[in-house]
């Protein structure tokens, strides 16, 4: 790791102020992605600003039909939270198959979506559930937040404070896990909103990061069942192809994972 200067912020305002005083700072949440990347010398921030001890970024709230998870909440606290399990069990499940137990004690929802890895799990949940990302400056709907590989709508020095999820009528998430990295080779989140709207998002599949899957949304809107997806064809155009799987393989996984997710959602 290259030299860097470590700061621990005790409030969001202090973190923003520290960021402004640094030349090339990075915010550090759980560090389960940023630190490995720094160890590989693929990132060399002049300063790291630790958000891990900021109290206002911790916690889960269920108010009516909105589940709000503060950005600094670790995966373990999300997957074991009674409100999460009650309101959107698919999120508890997603969190339980993310990384490994030690990673789940450190990694945070805010860190995951700020990084927007094309194979990360949480971006699919936000997109399918129509979540809203709250920052220290504004609210951003999920459709506008994810901008492609490792890219988001966040501006320099902007900090995610929370994510608000509308509680759906039904939701499910299933993924084909890469056995070594535990990232999604492809994962699909399906959700039926209380309004009846159906949204489906796939991660690990597209070259442009997390994506909606309109063909599956239309099929499920007509008939919410795994068999409704039987006749859908997913194009391999624009899908990721690497040593782990071809674009055609991932196209098929989108379909299969969507079917399993619908089955899990009930």
């Amino acid at each position: 790791m290259y030299q860097t200067t470590y700061h621990r912020a005790s409030s969001v305002d202090e973190a923003v102020s520290l960021f402004g005083k640094s030349s090339e700072a990075k915010f550090l949440a759980g560090g389960q992605t940023l630190l490995p990347v720094m160890k590989q010398r693929l990132a060399s921030p002049s300063d790291v600003i630790d958000l891990g001890k900021i109290k206002e970024l911790q916690g889960v709230e269920l108010a009516g039909d909105t589940l709000t998870i503060k950005a600094g909440t670790i995966y373990y606290d999300i997957m074991t939270n009674a409100d999460v399990k009650k309101a959107i069990p698919a999120i508890a499940h997603l969190t339980s198959v993310l990384g490994d137990p030690a990673v789940r004690y450190r990694g945070t929802i805010g860190g995951s979506i700020a990084n927007n890895d094309p194979a990360a799990d949480f971006p699919a949940a936000l997109l399918a559930l129509g979540a809203t990302v709250k920052t220290n400056k504004r609210s951003i709907v999920a459709d506008d937040f994810f901008k492609g590989l490792f890219t988001t709508a966040l501006e320099d020095g902007e900090i995610i404070t929370a994510v608000s999820f509308p509680v759906p009528a039904k939701a499910g998430y299933e993924k084909m896990r890469h056995p070594a990295s535990r990232f999604a080779l492809t994962g699909v989140f399906v959700a039926q909103a209380k309004s009846g709207e159906v949204r489906v998002a796939a991660t690990g599949a597209s070259q442009s990061g997390v994506m909606r899957v309109p063909a599956i949304e239309a099929a499920l809107k007509a008939n919410w069942s795994p068999s409704a997806i039987d006749g859908v064809t997913i194009s391999a155009n624009g899908l990721l192809a690497d040593i782990h799987g071809s674009a055609e393989y991932r196209a098929n996984l989108v379909k299969v994972m969507a079917q399993r997710a619908v089955k899990a959602a009930g």
Binding site: Y6, Q32, P36, K39, D50, P101, Y105, R106, A180
Partner: protein, 161 residues
């Protein structure tokens, strides 16, 4: 440079380190606690697992500064004098180690697994929960046996206390 103050195996320490120092480097290179190992540089292998405030974390994927104020327990801190921790004893009795390189991380993760699941452990759960710890001797079978054995012993020793 910063001074990091933390409790390691019950002892308060203050260590002057470069800001880029990882927790595992502080433990191994500054405190000479070399029981905690580094087996990879990708955060995947789990050889470096220690307990921070009672939870099993990868000490190679934390800056030392992030552990400021925390209580750390390493493999050196779990035995009571000459009496091995029940998890250590179970690893010995079940031949749960071959080369031994992954063992400290396995044991620290395994203790956390037993704490989280209590008496609810079965083989499938242990295998799934150990996914963050890699044994390159591939000695998983006896490791799983050891964890299940230790889960029983830990229940008994808790009941005795």
């Amino acid at each position: 440079m910063s001074t990091v103050k933390l409790t390691v195996n019950g002892k308060a320490v203050a260590v002057e380190v470069e800001d880029r120092t990882l927790l595992v480097q502080l433990l191994r290179e500054h405190l000479n606690l070399t029981g905690t190992h580094v087996g990879c540089d990708t955060s995947q292998c789990g050889a470096c697992v220690v307990h921070m405030d009672g939870r099993a974390v990868k000490s190679c994927t934390m800056l030392a500064g992030q552990a400021d104020g925390a209580s750390i327990t390493t493999i050196e801190g779990i035995a009571k004098g000459d009496e091995l921790h029940p998890m250590q004893a179970a690893f010995r009795d079940n031949h749960g180690l071959q080369c031994g390189y992954c063992t400290p991380g396995m044991i620290m993760s395994a203790i956390d697994i037993v704490h989280r699941h209590g008496g609810q452990l079965d083989e499938t759960t242990v295998r799934a929960e150990l996914e963050g710890n890699i044994c390159r001797c591939t000695g998983y079978h006896n490791i799983v046996k050891a964890v299940l054995d230790a889960a029983g012993r830990m229940k008994v020793s808790q009941a005795a206390e």
